[in-house]
Each structure stands twice: as structure tokens, then as C-alpha cells.
């Protein structure tokens, strides 16, 4: 039996196809403004990669903010439940999932079999999310893909006291005019986001293994500074950005 999961997030749409043997195919695209179309496209890409047609998929679970816009889904499940399930599949000893996406961040306490025991989410604020990093990378004219490496290369970290994206940007400008090296500012930005996320995640119980998921998981600087803040080793699965979609496909399997 083949099952599929589609995760339509704030910035990207992801799809995963599972067979009885395991993960068969995945796809990831930018979600753009037409979420319904993005869901269709990403699913078709994953199907093409798996060499399947849509009618060969027995069950489709949609997740993410755009979950209600996924045409033909059999069920919608929140990304919180899907990330827990997906992380458990990839890292069976997981007890805490930290998901940092484009629009929000979450801390999820995970129990047996990938069940959600508790969760915390950020409020409606870009601080502590991928958007914060995007804005800062743009302000400092650094490619987002290299942003984390800049942070790790710094020997000192500039102090970014505000976790508000708007105010932090003005702090960055102040540091620049004071001649603070760019990588030190970038390190300070990463420290600020890690502090914000760690504080939020601290409202639930943090236990090893701690798995970092979502697009920001690929930023090594955030992962390192989260480790420092939390005092736990952070595991970043290779498919960190696809964990929600994988979890959805697993839930589709029943």
C-alpha cells in the first residue's frame, strides 16, 4: 500500500510517499501565493519520483497551515502531531521535537510511538522563526544558506538584546555603524533566536533525544546555539524539512 503526506507551510510545500517498505519519495517546492496549486505540484513531483499515479495512493493526509487547501486529502492533521510522528520515525528515541519553520516555532514533547504529550508554540510574532533569519540575512546581504556558517566562524557575538524582528534590525544597523564585524553581528542574531526558542521550548519538558526540524534546522548556527542554551545535544535529521510530510504519510498508513 502507498500512502502520502503533504505539508503546506508558510514558505514551502513538502510531500512524502511511503510504501510498505518505507520512505519511497519526497519533494519540496516554494509554496508561493497559490497554496492549493503548490500542494498539487509538490504531490505530483513526489509521485513522479516514486513512479506512481495519484490513484495508486490509498490514503493522503494533509498537514501544515495550508492543510485545508490540499485537494483530495482524506484527512487533515496538525503539523504538531505530524512532526512528532515523523521525527519518531527518523529518530526512534526522540522525546523532544523543536520545529522552526518560516512562520512559527514549536516545542513538542514526544511520548511512546511518536505521540504528542504536550506542545508549545510561538505567538504571532516573527521572532524565533525562519522569517527573522531571512530579514536579518537580507539586511546584512548574506545568502541565507550561508548565514549559519558565518555565525559559527565568529569568535565573539554582538549583543542583540531585542527578539523583535523590527527592533533587532535597527540594533543590527547600530552595530554596523559602530564598526562591529558582520560575522559577530550574525553570531549575535543566532544567539538571540536560540535564546527565544529555548525559552519557549523550556515551557515544556525537554528530554533527550532532541530533534530539530523545519527549514531552520539546516542552519548549523541555530542548532549549535540551541545546544548551548538547552544543554542538550541537538539531532538534525537529513530530511529535517520533510519531517511533517513524512509524519503525515505515516499517519495515513494508520
Amino acid at each position: 500500500m502507498y500512502t502520502a503526506g503533504v505539508d503546506v507551510g508558510a514558505i514551502t510545500a513538502k510531500a512524502a510517499i511511503l510504501s510498505d517498505e518505507g520512505l519511497l519519495a519526497t519533494a519540496l517546492i516554494l509554496a508561493g501565493y497559490d497554496r492549493a496549486d503548490a500542494a498539487l505540484q509538490v504531490l505530483n513531483q513526489a509521485l513522479a519520483q516514486a513512479g506512481l499515479s495519484r490513484d495508486q495512493v490509498a490514503y493522503l493526509v494533509a498537514t501544515g497551515y495550508g492543510r485545508v487547501q490540499v485537494a483530495g486529502s482524506d484527512r487533515t492533521v496538525t503539523e504538531i502531531t505530524c512532526h512528532a510522528r515523523g521525527a519518531h520515525y527518523l529518530c526512534p528515541n526522540v522525546h523532544t521535537v523543536i520545529d522552526i519553520g518560516g512562520q512559527d516555532s514549536k516545542g513538542i514533547a514526544v511520548g511512546t510511538g511518536g505521540k504528542v504529550l504536550d506542545f508549545v508554540m510561538n505567538d504571532k510574532c516573527a521572532a524565533g522563526t525562519g522569517r527573522f533569519l531571512e530579514v536579518m540575512a537580507a539586511a546584512l546581504e548574506v545568502d541565507l544558506a550561508n548565514f549559519g556558517q558565518f555565525a559559527l566562524a565568529a569568535s565573539r557575538r554582538a549583543k542583540i538584546s531585542s527578539t523583535c524582528t523590527v527592533f533587532a534590525e535597527s540594533e543590527v544597523i547600530t552595530h554596523l555603524t559602530a564598526g562591529v564585524p558582520r560575522k559577530e553581528i550574525i553570531a549575535g542574531i543566532h544567539k538571540a533566536i536560540a535564546a527565544r526558542v529555548a525559552t519557549m521550548v523550556g515551557r515544556t519538558t525537554v528530554r533527550d533525544e532532541v530533534v530539530l526540524t523545519g527549514g531552520v534546522a539546516h542552519n548549523a548556527g541555530v542548532a549549535r546555539m540551541l545546544e548551548e542554551k538547552l544543554g542538550h545535544t541537538i539531532i538534525v535529521p537529513k530530511q529535517a524539512q520533510l519531517v511533517g510530510a513524512i509524519g503525515a504519510a505515516l499517519i495515513a498508513r494508520g
Binding site: 492533521v77 496538525t78 504538531i80 512559527d104 505521540k115 504528542v116 504571532k124
Partner: protein, 379 residues
């Protein structure tokens, strides 16, 4: 039955609109706080209705209140400043919390054309001092209502109003006892109508509804629907009920300031006023009922504990979990939430805190509530 239920809800909503229309010959008084002796206004010939917040914001109140002020109060002021409350004969509020206390001065300076009837409500609700203080406040309020209306509130008229309100309270309690039978938005509409329609109308329509033996399933209820108790301040925003419904849950009870607790207890203790030499002062009866309500987070009663009441409600209604629907910037409920959450933790009752804004967005709220329901499903 479902059709009859919706038809009754529509009639109640229409009655609420008529009460608030400018052409309504019956004078109407708006109230803003969770402690108001509605019967006293009713006995004077007024129709009391609660002024709920609305998601619309003209910005007029912002000139008078800081941004972090409770927007329930801010919305009432905004509605008044933009002329939406001009049809009211007055507005009543108790000293229920600091914001409302501050509102009295702002109101008198800026909305002078709508008379304000303000009365003190003790912080500590038990003890002789509270009883004496509130009685004196109610006596003063009675005189001010009489001056506003130009008539005398007789004891007989007050007793009649108390009996009428007791009947409404009994009906709302029966609605709550069967809360799980109603779709969340229908429950919301039925309870909200009790704050906004004349009690005569409410009793007339809701009595026959509840005389029917069962509320047939509305198609959304299942045996596995998660049973939720809501905690918070007012009942203004249907968005929480909406997302609970969308997630397949039921609201089986609440500890909202303007919810189940508001309709607790009969004032007259039965359907008739006391008679004979032992006849009680109706103001004392009103006072005793107000003091015996489950206190809101800004009040204290040595013998009535909010956490114990919540746990008892959870048990009585076989609730699966509790959702704290806290209005942003409402500090009393923020402090209260921590205490109640601790009690729920110790009792092993799952709970979720969501923050509501003046114009709540369903998106993130929906994710939180759905995820909570998913946790409940797997327990």
C-alpha cells in the same frame, strides 16, 4: 428538533437586535461587568443587556486608553464614542477590576450623554463587611436608578423581576446540563442570547426547547467527540467555539466570567417571593446571590475556590480537557490560569492555553486547538 433549535436561536437573535435598535420604545441599559444586579434595572422598567466587545475598532478609544488595556473595556468605550450605544438609556458597571474603575472617569468625561451607573463591588466576597458594603451600594444604586427613570422601584416589582431572572437562570443551567447535546456554536448562541434578549422573551422561547426529551444529533457529534470545559472571561468571540466544533469537539461547560457561573443560584430560592413577617429585603437577596457566585479572578472568597470548582465541573461533565481562552492583556486571568493549570496538572487533566485578540484569527488558534484534540484522542 434541530430545525426548531435554530429557529429559536434566530428568534432570540432577532429579539436581541430589536432591543438594541434605536426605535425600541422600551428603555435599555447596557452593562459592562460580570457583577450587575440586572433585576434592579428590570424592576425600574429597563431592559438590561450586556455590551459585548466587537471585532470592529474605529480607534476612538485608543485616544483614552493605553494599547495594553483590556480590549473588552476598550471596545465598549469605542462603541460609545462612535455613537453605537446612543440608543441606551444608560450604562451600568461594577468595580470589578482596575480597568473598569478607570473607565468610570473616562466615560463621564467623554460619553456624558450616556448616563453611567457605577457601583462598588467588594474585593473580598465573604464576611460581614462585604455584606454590609454591597447592601449599601445596592441601596445607593436603587436610588440612582429611580432618579434616572423618574419612578420608584417597589419591592413588589423587584420581587417579580427576581422571580423572572431566577427562571432564566434555571433555564440556562438546564442548557449547560445538556451542553454536550448542542453543537458548540448553538450552545454559544443560546447562552449569549441570555445576556442580550429580554428575559421574558428568552424564557418564552427556551422553555419549550428544553421540555423536549432530547436534542437530536446534529451530525457533528460522535461518541468520541472530545468534551471540553472552557475557562476565561467573556463569551463575546465565537471563534473558540468555532474551532472546537471544526476539530470535532464539544463544549460541555465553562468557568467563563460571563458564562455558567453568571447563572448560578436562585436569588429567591424558589418561584415565589417570601411572605409574612420574615419577608426578606429583596436587595439582601440580590446581594447574597452576588456574593455567593464563584468569584471572578479579581475577587476573593475564602470558601469558594475556583480551582476546586473547575475540577468539580470537569468531573461532573466527564470532560476530557480544559481550554483556557484568555483575552490578551487580561492579567487577572493570566494569574488565575497559572493556579488553575497547576490544579489540573495535579489531577491529570489535560489543558491548553490560547490567547484571544480583539479580532481573533482562526488560523493559529485552530492549529493549537486541533493539536490539543489530537492529544486527547490518543490518550
Amino acid at each position: 428538533m434541530a430545525r426548531s433549535l435554530h429557529s429559536i436561536i434566530r428568534k432570540l437573535q432577532s429579539a436581541a437586535c430589536n432591543v438594541q435598535s434605536r426605535g425600541n420604545p422600551q428603555p435599555t441599559i447596557g452593562f459592562l461587568t460580570t457583577y450587575v444586579p440586572e433585576e434592579l434595572f428590570h424592576a425600574a422598567g429597563l431592559t438590561p443587556i450586556f455590551v459585548f466587545h466587537t471585532p470592529e475598532d474605529t480607534g476612538r478609544a485608543r485616544a483614552h486608553l493605553p494599547n495594553f488595556t483590556c480590549w473588552v473595556a476598550g471596545s465598549a468605550l469605542d462603541q460609545a464614542l462612535s455613537g453605537k450605544l446612543d440608543g441606551l438609556a444608560g450604562v451600568a458597571l461594577a468595580q470589578s477590576r482596575d480597568t473598569m474603575q478607570g473607565m468610570t472617569d473616562i466615560w463621564r468625561r467623554n460619553v456624558g450623554h450616556i448616563p453611567l451607573l457605577h457601583f462598588g463591588m467588594p474585593l473580598r466576597l465573604d464576611g460581614h463587611a462585604a455584606r454590609a458594603y454591597l447592601l449599601a451600594e445596592l441601596q445607593s444604586l436603587r436610588q440612582r436608578i429611580q432618579a434616572l427613570m423618574g419612578n420608584i422601584i417597589s419591592d413588589d416589582a423587584l420581587w417579580e423581576s427576581i422571580v423572572l431572572y431566577d427562571n432564566t437562570r434555571a433555564l440556562v443551567r438546564r442548557v449547560y446540563a445538556r451542553a454536550a447535546d448542542f453543537a458548540p456554536l448553538d450552545l454559544y448562541a443560546l447562552v449569549r442570547a441570555a445576556f442580550q434578549t429580554p428575559k421574558e422573551t428568552y424564557n418564552k422561547y427556551v422553555t419549550p426547547l428544553l421540555e423536549q426529551p432530547a436534542i437530536p444529533p446534529d451530525g457533528t457529534s460522535t461518541a468520541t467527540s472530545a468534551r471540553i470545559v472552557l475557562v476565561g472571561s467573556e463569551l463575546a468571540d465565537p471563534v473558540v467555539f468555532e474551532v472546537i466544533a471544526q476539530a470535532g469537539g464539544r463544549v460541555v461547560g465553562d468557568l467563563l466570567d460571563l458564562g455558567e457561573r453568571y447563572f448560578e443560584g436562585d436569588a429567591a430560592g424558589g418561584s415565589k417571593q417570601p411572605s409574612g413577617p420574615a419577608a426578606t429585603d429583596p436587595l439582601e437577596v440580590l446581594r447574597d446571590r452576588m456574593l455567593a457566585l464563584v468569584p471572578t479572578p479579581t475577587k476573593h472568597h475564602a470558601l469558594i475556590n475556583r480551582a476546586a470548582r473547575l475540577l468539580s465541573l470537569v468531573k461532573k461533565r466527564s470532560a476530557d480537557g480544559v481550554i483556557f481562552a484568555r483575552q490578551k492583556f487580561c492579567e487577572p486571568h493570566g494569574f488565575d490560569c497559572a493556579v488553575l493549570a497547576d490544579a489540573l496538572e495535579r489531577a491529570g487533566v489535560p489543558h491548553l492555553l490560547v490567547e484571544l485578540e480583539q479580532a481573533s484569527q482562526a488560523g493559529q488558534l485552530r492549529t493549537r486547538v486541533e493539536a490539543f484534540m489530537e492529544i486527547l484522542e490518543t490518550r
